[in-house]
């Protein structure tokens, strides 16, 4: 359960990004969390619902962008989507591959809105 620590890291980043926009609050946070990042999106979401309290993102929604696990073959150069524990080339079957995507843990976008406007909704 290291998701709370990751939330705190995420929220300190958000506070930094939101600092120049006074009078606005964070409404939406878009993250990309790969299956090989070591983070479980459901746990992160649950931890976020607690960690966001009292921060500029106290009303914010956390949105997860899907990240496929994709390997690039060193031999035949093909790129294939695979399971997290079977990083084998989908074309020739070798394990001599590199990860093209799947281990990301990235903050992609932050949406901010006027506090008054959010309250009126």
């Amino acid at each position: 359960m290291h998701e709370l620590a990751i939330c705190q890291s995420l929220l300190s980043k958000i506070a930094h990004i939101a600092a120049p926009y006074s009078g606005r609050e964070v409404t939406e946070i878009v993250v990309a969390i790969g299956p090989l990042s070591g983070v479980e999106p459901q746990l992160l979401e649950r931890a976020f619902s607690v960690a966001r309290c009292g921060t500029i993102a106290s009303q914010a929604m956390l949105i997860f962008e899907a990240v496929p696990v994709v390997v690039r073959c060193r031999g035949c150069k093909s790129e294939t989507a695979v399971a997290s524990n079977a990083l084998l080339c989908g074309t020739c079957g070798t394990w001599q591959v590199e990860l093209a995507s799947g281990d990301e843990m990235v903050l992609k976008r932050v949406e901010l809105a006027d506090v008054a406007e959010t309250a009126a909704e």
Binding site: I17, M61, I63, N85, L87, L107
Partner: protein
């Protein structure tokens, strides 16, 4: 997962997400900031700082990870017995509670700093950084960082180490690499510990464990070790000494380039 665009927005929020069939409904007076920052960039920043310290003093830092009870501390004790006198060793111990492991290492006459993490299930770069303040890196060749016994969380946090070593005891399942791909994908070396029990643990297959590791596209060596049989440690000791020599030569080439820099100031 949402069927329309593939995102994994939760069921609770799906009404907002698809109000107009678009990714999201943005209020008229809203601002969108694109960032693309690593969420753990603060940890990575501190890890890079730790790494710079290790390089400066030519210290080999090894992050030892495994599930609880795989024999990390016993392996360290046995390793210290072999390396003592040839290399100057220090240990950082991570546990939720107690100084027990650090005391076992200190009993060998080796400096050990215990980090008690409380309810935190992993070490992070800042904890290691704070522990480094209690060690004199100038008089250390090899720093072993024994992470909290856990095959999940420690894998997500870079500590600034040169190498990750994962232990898999032969009393565990040989499919652990398939069950915990994040941890075993990150391993630079896998040690099958308690190998003296292989004969009595008939269902653990080292070949299968290695196959599961290769299925993670990981070329790391797999060695069998037993803390109770000093002769089994030889390949592991060789590996450490190679890494140690690499750390020292990296420091030597670094100080050489600094020397050149000193004598050829810009402008």
């Amino acid at each position: 997962m949402c069927q329309e665009c593939g995102c994994s927005v939760s069921q609770n929020n799906v009404h907002i997400h698809h109000a107009n069939g678009s990714m999201s409904v943005r209020p008229a007076n809203s601002t969108s900031v694109d960032v693309l920052h690593g969420i753990l960039s603060q940890n990575d920043h501190v890890a890079a700082h730790n790494s710079a310290h290790f390089h400066r003093y030519g210290v080999l830092a090894v992050n030892l990870m495994s599930s609880p009870g795989s024999g990390k501390t016993s392996l360290l004790e046995a390793t210290i017995d072999v390396l003592r006198g040839k290399h100057r060793i220090a240990v950082i111990e991570g546990d939720l509670e107690t100084e027990n492991d650090a005391e076992r290492i200190r009993a060998k006459g080796i400096p050990a700093v215990q980090i008690t993490t409380g309810q935190t299930c992993h070490l992070d770069a800042q904890m290691v950084h704070d522990a480094l303040h209690m060690l004199d890196l100038r008089v250390i060749d090899i720093l072993f960082i024994e992470n909290v016994g856990n095959l999940v969380c420690p894998a997500a946090f870079d500590l600034g180490q040169q190498a990750n070593v994962a232990l898999l005891a032969v009393t565990e399942g040989d499919d652990k690499p398939a069950k915990y791909p994040v941890m075993f994908r990150a391993a630079d070396l896998v040690l099958l510990s308690k190998s003296d029990l292989l004969d009595v643990m008939g269902d653990f297959s080292p070949a299968k464990a290695e196959k599961h590791l290769r299925n993670l596209a990981n070329p790391a060596a797999v060695l069998q070790v037993s803390a109770r049989q000093a002769k089994t440690l030889a390949p592991w000791i060789t590996w450490i000494e190679e890494q140690c020599a690499a750390a020292r030569s990296a420091m030597a080439s670094r100080s050489e380039s600094e020397h050149v820099h000193l004598h050829h100031p810009v402008g």
